[in-house]
Symmetry: C2
Subunit: 187 residues, 2 copies
Amino acid sequence: MPAPKISREEVLDRITEIFRQYGYEGASLSLISKATGLGRASLYHHFPGGKEEMGHEVFRRIGEHLDRNVLSPLRAKGSPKKCLKNWTQGLNLFYGGGSKNCLLGTMILSGGSDRFSKEITSTFRTLIDLLSSVLEEAKIPHNLARRRAARAIGEIQGALLVSRGLEDEGYFQQILEDLPGELLSVK
Amino acid sequence: MPAPKISREEVLDRITEIFRQYGYEGASLSLISKATGLGRASLYHHFPGGKEEMGHEVFRRIGEHLDRNVLSPLRAKGSPKKCLKNWTQGLNLFYGGGSKNCLLGTMILSGGSDRFSKEITSTFRTLIDLLSSVLEEAKIPHNLARRRAARAIGEIQGALLVSRGLEDEGYFQQILEDLPGELLSVK
DNA sequence: TCATTATTACCGAACGGTCGGTACAATGTC
DNA sequence: GACATTGTACCGACCGTTCGGTAATAATGA
């Protein structure tokens, strides 16, 4: 076989970036072709299922990235406070300090909601489960932990959206800074 | 002149619904034509500027709705607590209990961000200004009031998005219920 | 009062262009 | 030669938009 110009994972990363920026409907094959350097035919060779298959693969890939860069701190041993600090740091990097959209949000509001509802809900659930388990480790009662975790996930999504709406990335950073303290507050 | 089949404001309301559901790019003229009962060509009679003019008009119209149904409680005389309660009630109605997208969020993440950035930022700013002024009336220091108000707007957006992601409208309701208390807490 | 004229509302058909997707021959590597 | 990979050329469907034309009402003048 001829040496691929570019690895499959690298292809997926670039497609991810297009989906993230333009949403599912806005991510045209022309854009994807340009971003990957692959012609239409090549794209269909790698993803016979077309755009929809690309979408599913992108979710798989983003799951890996999320796991490695964002979720891993939540699984690490160490004080909950430290865990959460590392988590928000990971989030900040993952979202480019507030400059990058979240693929989940973009997909939900740009026509991918029906196609990828399974991936979307399960990703949100994983996030909430993991976060709330850290809170429980900090002696926060189960129900409260779950409520706070769910709320925090919403806050992050909202912060990404509003910081874009206000054209002020500082907004995202602010929310992120305050999160660990509020999640662990005894109130 | 022949009697219009449908009033301009009614037309705008239906177009708004399409934009809200499908986003700017996803809202095709065919969809809009179907929703309004007007042929594609007729739409250009009412909106010579085409889809983009429709977008701007939709923002004007949604501004009116927002003002009447959501913002007015914040301007009313009365205890801040009462104001906020009425506000969240208005929000709940406005967003169909969490079942309807927010036009702002949808536009931001579906290709309308550049075209309508002026409308989007100014709407967010108005919301934050008004909300924070209510908090200041409740003796909350200026800076804290502004931070809490901004955070609340983000939470609402996040709640709408995540409730869709989790396919659980209860999530939105929950956030909404807790908001007034947290905005006014002395902590 | 009644025909005439403007004005307005609307639509069918078509424009050039892009969409996601496919058929197939050519290429390069083993 | 076998086979994975790719470029080219193409498809029908739909995109936002425009044009030519029709029909209904309002305003006009005799």
